[in-house]
Symmetry: C2
Subunit: 303 residues, 2 copies
């Protein structure tokens, strides 16, 4: 695996510029009595992050000739769901975190009840965006419904929320094994990353065929690799991406790939999952160059 | 206004039977590691209630010849959203209520974090239901997207969540006037009741025409009447529908139609809004008999 190219960095930068512009417009605060909740939504939506999910949506759409603007819109709807899950995960009754990515969490800047409602509103917003034909250039209602179906199933109890629940239950157990940890992360983190890729496919007109399956193989392995890397960075990194003290997961007794497998084995399976994700892309040859380099860049990232 | 007929009671009973059956199937708990959150969703979804929103959806769909089974499904998706809003409204950081309709609130029966996620999951579930073509007999993707758009806009910051935020802000003020109270309730309670009617219209193929406007006039006035009646029952009723001590809103300093207007004037505007809602239905003649009697039954209800 070679280091990502200048061409990759340039394209990634362009994608992120498009995403941040769209998120800015989604986060616009109206002049109305409920402005405070919109301020809280904006605070969390624009608090940074790698935007990995919308990047995947756009790249998959582009691979299949889908409209890029529509992919940016759908990717940002997905980012609304990711952001809501972070706001609710940080609440006192959940992880009770004061910092995220080095900044105060939503409920530390706004009243806790406003943070709760901002999370609700961002989840809801994703579906407001996805169901309004005025937001799209090339998509018809049939495609839009397929997108809503894919996203809602990924974010519900069969996907992300299911993973959050298993995580809460596992935290109270001291006998969680690696298969259970994988199952939890396949849902909690993996479901939205897989959905990001599926949404891009659907925008490109690719649904339930061999191409779709190859992309699913790519994204499911990438999702797991992404989480393993997070766990490794929590132990080895210079800066924890969540803004928590380094190694705090280990101290808190939280199960991670590193605590269950040790650093060496965790690094081995990280590399293995990255390789499998890239090999799934061989089906597309050079056309999938950006996604291949993306997988490598996530493998070697330092935060 | 005459008392609702036996025919009305019979049809209402049938509608509610269909709704409860559908909610039972939506609330089915899978045999999977995340079962606990599904138990919490089921607990709140099947905790009773008048089911007024799905009843309105079905009745409006029937008025325009829409498929009843599809209307039951859509009405129950809407009920999922209503139920999530109650779970989150009851949480310690919101109203901190121990009882709802005389039963322990979700976070009193389940851990608070599970109640939070159950609320999230019910909001999400509404869109899972609405975007899966297998759930519908007569609806095409174009209609489905219109339904998702209508529901998501009603439940977001421009609708219900916006109303919840204004309610939180108003609670801290001692100078709220009647116009502000009306605006808050038009969003917090009214938006979903209006949406219930709009969804029924859309299922019946009625979108943005004179018939649609008449139904909107009916439902917006009914929504406000519904809230005024709740406020009156809180003062005069034998049993508070929320299971809270009677008159507790007054004691808590919460603004209601009764505290701002007095009982007599509140009863006057309740009757007035009910009359206006019924008069909007005259456009349809006898065909709208059920909706007319529904408005009367809500006016004279005792809980």
């Amino acid at each position: 695996m070679v280091k990502p190219s200048k061409e990759f960095e340039k394209k990634l930068e362009l994608y992120i510029k498009l995403i941040e512009e769209k998120l800015q417009s989604i986060a616009a605060v109206p002049n109305s009595p409920d402005a405070m909740v919109c301020e809280a939504m904006k605070y969390s939506l624009l608090a940074g992050g790698k935007r990995i999910r919308p990047v995947i949506t756009i790249a998959c759409a582009e691979l299949f000739g889908g409209n890029i603007d529509d992919a940016v819109t759908v990717g940002c709807a997905l980012e609304c769901i990711h952001t809501y899950s972070l706001i609710h995960d940080d609440l006192p009754c959940m992880d009770n975190d004061d910092l995220r990515r080095g900044k105060p969490t939503c409920h530390k800047v706004f009243p806790e009840n406003i943070a709760l409602l901002a999370g609700d509103a961002l989840l809801n917003k994703a579906f407001e965006i996805m169901s309004d034909k005025d937001n799209f250039i090339s998509l018809n209602e049939r495609t839009m419904i397929e997108l809503v179906r894919t996203l809602s199933q990924a974010s519900g109890t069969k996907g992300m929320i299911g993973g959050q629940v298993i995580d809460l239950i596992n935290e109270k157990r001291d006998d969680v094994d690696i298969q259970e940890l994988i199952l939890m992360h396949k849902k909690k983190t993996g479901a939205l990353i897989e959905a990001a890729a599926s949404l891009g496919c659907i925008i490109g007109g690719v649904i339930e065929n061999e191409e779709f399956n190859k992309i699913s193989q790519f994204s499911s392995n990438l999702g797991l690799a992404f989480q393993i890397k997070d766990d490794i960075l929590d132990v080895t990194g210079n800066e924890d991406i969540l803004g928590k003290p380094i190694g705090s997961d280990k101290e808190s007794g939280k199960n991670t790939f590193v605590t269950l497998l040790g650093l060496e084995k965790a690094e081995y399976i990280l590399k293995r999952h990255t390789e499998v994700s890239i090999s799934a892309l061989e089906y597309f040859g050079d056309k999938a160059w950006f996604l291949k380099e993306l997988a490598v860049s996530l493998l070697i990232r330092e935060k």
